[in-house]
Structure formats: structure tokens, C-alpha cells
Symmetry: C2
Subunit: 357 residues, 2 copies
């Protein structure tokens, strides 16, 4: 069933059928109705390839994501996919893993499929070394590139992200405000946003060092073990402690790591939050799975995804739009941290609980 069949049955030319199909206004109502009837009757759907050939677009967006089974990334992909769909776009998903070469390869694959844009979900697509981002720039030369949780100042690249530095800075100050000074930062990624988070933590700790005149309140521990392996995370911390390091607070770069920290605390018989306070990141469902429930930073993922798609639609529609959207995260206080005492004289100037509602 092709456009020719339809044109024949409707007694018009293929051009007219095509015009009806594309909602062109240059068709009389009578003709339009006639064609529509025939199309309906035979259940005809235009061939997407042929259409793509003619239009050089298929209303399809390429989504790249290192690991779509990751709780956070999966949520992001889901929201993006859903919003795309309501805007009449399809998406081709490509799980690239964390290997840079694979990323570049996947990118080319998507481009060869003539996607209208590419969305990079997650901060691990942008590297510090500008040369390593060449593949992104190459892509941007062909189609708009959208970044979620990362930023790259290059034409035709648009970014939607949270201010991870600020979030971590405030979270750290909040924890200090509850009376804890020896804090461990527990992280597992050096990605674009990973770096920002770490520096936020460091800045807050340095401030503390400066104010107290004591050096080294902050500890930093990288977790390189298997993804999502909570027991292994707990074990990593256990080893640390056994080496004699002491800390009464843990700030984790994501909720899974925080759960590892909670598990560690329980295994060591520490009361949470009295003996050990813990803050997670992302405010995922894991925060509720935790006992006690996990204090975590919510960065409004859904809102960011909406902004990203809106921006994309603007770009695709040829409308002007800012290149970068920066959101602010929000600390959700739950059971793994103590509240800031009402009367406490803050060791750090500035009331953290004010800027983090």
C-alpha cells in the first residue's frame, strides 16, 4: 500500500495525497475528505524511509546514556522519552557504557540514522580535556546536542544541569551545622558533575578548616567497586575505619553510596544519626528504602528533563533560547541526619538551612 494506490483509489494525483498527508493548506476540503476517507479505509501508513529520504528527517531524537539500568539515568531517560513522545518525536536509545571510544562510535551510529538531535544523558559524556569532547563538537556540527547534567560551551550544544557544586557545598555546611566536623566524602565518579560535587564539598571543608584553625576535617574516599553493590560499599568504608580513620559524617555522591554508608554504620553498631550522620544525593527511591530514611539532595530531575525537551523543541523550531539552564538542588532532610539545633551558634557563618529550604 503506497501513496500511488491511495491516489488511484481516490482519483487524485500522488502530489495531492502527499499534501493531505502533510497537512498542506493547498487542498480543497472536498478533496481532502475524499483522500482521508480512502486512507482510513485501507489503513494506509506512509513509509517512513521514503518520507525520511524526501524530508531528510524522521522526527527521531537520539538518546545516549552510559547505563540505562542505573536508577537515576533510567529515570532521566524515562522522562525524556515520555516528553519527546508527547511532542511527536521518537527516540533511538543507545547505551554506550563508559568507554569513550564506544561513545564516539554510538554517536556516529545515531548520526547515520539521521536523528534530528542528540541528547546526552548523564555527566559522563563530557571530559575535562577539551580534546576528548571533540566527538561532541563534531556531532554538534550536524545536529543540536543536548546535555543533561553537564555543560560544554560550544555552539549548538545546550545544557540543562543543577548546580552540583552549590548543592554539595550547602549540604556539607548543613552537616557541619548539625555539629559534625569530621566528614567523609564518599564518591564513585569523576564525571563532569562528580567533579563539581567534590569541589563543593572541599570548599565547605576548607572554610571550616580556616575558621577553626585546624586542618583536615575532611576525608575523601573513592569507591571503585561494582555498581550498586551495597555490601561492597559498606565493606570499603569498614576497611577505612579499620585503618584508623575516624569520621562522624558521610556525604555520598549518590544514594546508593549513602545506603552503603548506612549499612556500614549498622554493621559497626553505630547509631544513625547520633553516631554517624549520612547525606545522599539524588533523592531517589532508595532514600525511602533506607532505615532510617535517608537525607538526600533532590535536584528536580523531572523539571530538568522538561526544560531540556522544551529547549530542544525551541531549537528545532528555530527559536532563540539560552544555551545553559542551571537549577538549584534542595536538601530533603530525613532520618539520617540530625536537625540543626535552634540555639546553636553556627561554627560557619551563613545559615545553611536558609538557602536550602
Amino acid at each position: 500500500m503506497t501513496i500511488y494506490d491511495i491516489s488511484e483509489k481516490a482519483g487524485v494525483s500522488i502530489a495531492t495525497v502527499s499534501r493531505v498527508l502533510n497537512g498542506s493548506s493547498n487542498v480543497s476540503d472536498k478533496t481532502r475528505r475524499k483522500v482521508l476517507d480512502v486512507i482510513e479505509q485501507y489503513g494506509y501508513t506512509p513509509n517512513a524511509f521514503a518520507r525520511g529520504l524526501g524530508l531528510n528527517t524522521m522526527k527521531t531524537i537520539g538518546i545516549m546514556c552510559a547505563d540505562s539500568s542505573d536508577l537515576y539515568l533510567a529515570k532521566a531517560v524515562y522522562h525524556i522519552e515520555t516528553r519527546l513522545q508527547t511532542n511527536g518525536y521518537d527516540s533511538i536509545l543507545s547505551c554506550t557504557g563508559y568507554d569513550p571510544e564506544q561513545k564516539a562510535y554510538s554517536m556516529n551510529l545515531l548520526l547515520s540514522k539521521k536523528v534530528d538531535a542528540i541528547i546526552l544523558v548523564g555527566s559522563n559524556f563530557i571530559y575535562d580535556n577539551r580534546d576528548d569532547n571533540q566527538y561532541v563538537m563534531d556531532a554538534a556540527a550536524q545536529v543540536p546536542v543536548m546535555l543533561l547534567n553537564a555543560s560544554l560551551n560550544v555552539p549548538n550544544v545546550y545544557s540543562v544541569l543543577t548546580d552540583d557544586h552549590h548543592s554539595m557545598y550547602e549540604a556539607t555546611k548543613y552537616l557541619i551545622g548539625t555539629g559534625i566536623q569530621d566528614i567523609l566524602y564518599f564518591y564513585n565518579s569523576n564525571s563532569y558533575s562528580g567533579k563539581r560535587k567534590l569541589s563543593g564539598f572541599c570548599d565547605a571543608m576548607e572554610e571550616l578548616d580556616r575558621l577553626t584553625g585546624i586542618k583536615g576535617h575532611g576525608l575523601i574516599q573513592f569507591y571503585g567497586g561494582p555498581h550498586e553493590d551495597i555490601p561492597h560499599m559498606a565493606h570499603t568504608l569498614s576497611v577505612l575505619r579499620d585503618r584508623g580513620l575516624s569520621f562522624h559524617g558521610i556525604i555520598a555522591a549518590d544514594d546508593a553510596l549513602a545506603l552503603g554508608a548506612v549499612k556500614y554504620g549498622k554493621e559497626k553498631g553505630l547509631r544513625i544519626p547520633e553516631d554517624l550522620s549520612i547525606i545522599g544525593y539524588n533523592n531517589s527511591m532508595l532514600a525511602n528504602c533506607c532505615d532510617p530514611e535517608l537525607t538526600s539532595i533532590d535536584n528536580g530531575l523531572e523539571m530538568m528533563c522538561n526544560q531540556l525537551i522544551n529547549t530542544l523543541m525551541n531549537v528545532l523550531g528555530g527559536r532563540e533560547t539560552p544555551q545553559e539552564f542551571l537549577f538549584r538542588g534542595q536538601l530533603i532532610q530525613r532520618g539520617t541526619t540530625r536537625p540543626i539545633p535552634w540555639d546553636a551558634s553556627q561554627p560557619i557563618p551563613g545559615d545553611a538551612s536558609q538557602s536550602i529550604p
Copy 2:
């Protein structure tokens, strides 16, 4: 840059270029090298639309999934996507939600994009009423349809699933074997596999009723609240208990529900597993997030996904293959259940711990 440009620069015909591109053997080494060089030099990539038009395929598989942010479904999609990629296929992902109409619509959208096959991830795509599955049969008339976690006996539809009935039956018998008789089944879906699970539970409980001569050991509770809302799940159970129902074991239809059960137990001050034993389903990362760690049923998701892709490749390659693959789940015993006592005389014949290693 088209095939014409390449053919000109290489001094051959477009047919030869095309043959080189498609790895046809009817090209001399010398010619091939020459063409390849030119292609390399100009960084040419064939236009996917034109290719699709000619071949009527784009090496693309449609994946449908109700909610790709669901922990379990996301894992499945990830494995499928990854395996597809290693087989040289792309995937178009469509998140349909749970609305039947939306499913049919998405299906047509995928078909219009000329996918080579459609994979339905999750059991909620198949309904009890055969008429409701018409959209699947319609699709199967055009391309192979693969079902993960569901089954439909229709030509050109292939199924890969676990024997949920058996898993639940054995899990229930196991729990009974640990000495618990009043068991609550906690579930949230009436999907294809949801039904199977429920009937597995019911069968085991009826057996118990028959053996003890007492009716009504089993309780069943549906959870209709928001997805992944652990506190809400706990609350649902709390309400039940407050109405005077008593149970010392909970079997949940998935791990999230089981965490809800754990939370409920803790809130009520029950010791787990002494006062309340809990079994989850899917053996997801949540099982490790739990304290104590959750006993759960592992149904080998990755293996199933592999089988599904292998089968698909066979179908696409025109090779014979069975229509249905049925796997057996496996109970992973952890901290939310007691071990079966060595010397206990089983109230139910058949040693559950034997068939569930």
C-alpha cells in the same frame, strides 16, 4: 556526500561502491581497497533512509516498555539494548505507560518506522481477554514480536519467561517450611505474570489448608498506591493489621513491596525474621538495600534477555526456533526469612529447598 561522489572519486560505478558498502563478495580486492580508501578519506556514511528504502529494513528493533524507570524493566531494557547493539541492531524505545490504547498507538508508530521486530518488555502487554491482544497479533502479522515475561500462543510471537507460578509456589512452600502458616500475599499488578504469581501462592496455601484441615491460612492484599512509595506500602499493611488481620509471613510480588513490608514490620516493632518473615521477588539491588537483607526470588533476568535476543536473531535469520522459553527462578535466601530447620517434619510433602537450590 553520496554514493555518486564516492563512485566518481574512486573511478568505479555506484553499484560497485554499494557492493563494497554491503560487504558483497563480488568485488575484487583491488577495487574494494580503492573504494574503501576514498570512503575513509571523505568520511562518507551512507544515508540510512535511502538504504532503508532499498532494503526495507534499517536494522532497528522497536522496544516497548510501560515504564522504563521501573527498576526491573530498566534493567531488562538495558540488557536487551546492549545485546541488540552487539548484534548490530539499533533500538527505538517507546515508553507506553499502562494505558492499553497508548500501547496500540505506540505499536503502530513503531511499525510505521519499519522496525524489524518488536520487543514487549514486561508482562503488562498481554491481557487475559484474547481480544485485547489483537494489537499484538496485528503487529505479529507484520514483524516478529518478542515477549519478555509473558506468553501468547500466536504465530510469529515468541516468548521468554520464568515460571512465575512455580517460583511463587515454591517460595510459599519454603516459607511454610520455616514454620509460618499465616501468610499475606502482597501484590500490585494483575499483569500476565502477576496472575501467575498469585496462583502459585494460592495453590501452595490451598495445599496447606487441605493438609491441616484448617481453611484460610492465606491472605491477599492488593497495593494500589503510588509506584515505589515504600512508606505508603508500609502504611497499607499497617491499616490491614489495625483491622485485626494477623500474619507472620509476607510474600511480596516484587522487591519494592517487600521493602514496604520490612518497613511496616519495623514500624510495628516486629523482629525480622523472628516475628515477621518476608520474601521479595526479582532479587533486585533493593534486596541488598534492605536491613536485614531481603530473601528474594531471582529469575535470571540477564539470561532471559540473552535468550530473547538470541531467539530474535534466529527468527530474523530465518532459522527455526521454539516459540516459548520457560526458565525457572531461584530463591535467594537472606536475612528476612529463617532457614528451614534440619529436623523439622515438613507439614507439606516435598522438600522445597531441594527444587529451589
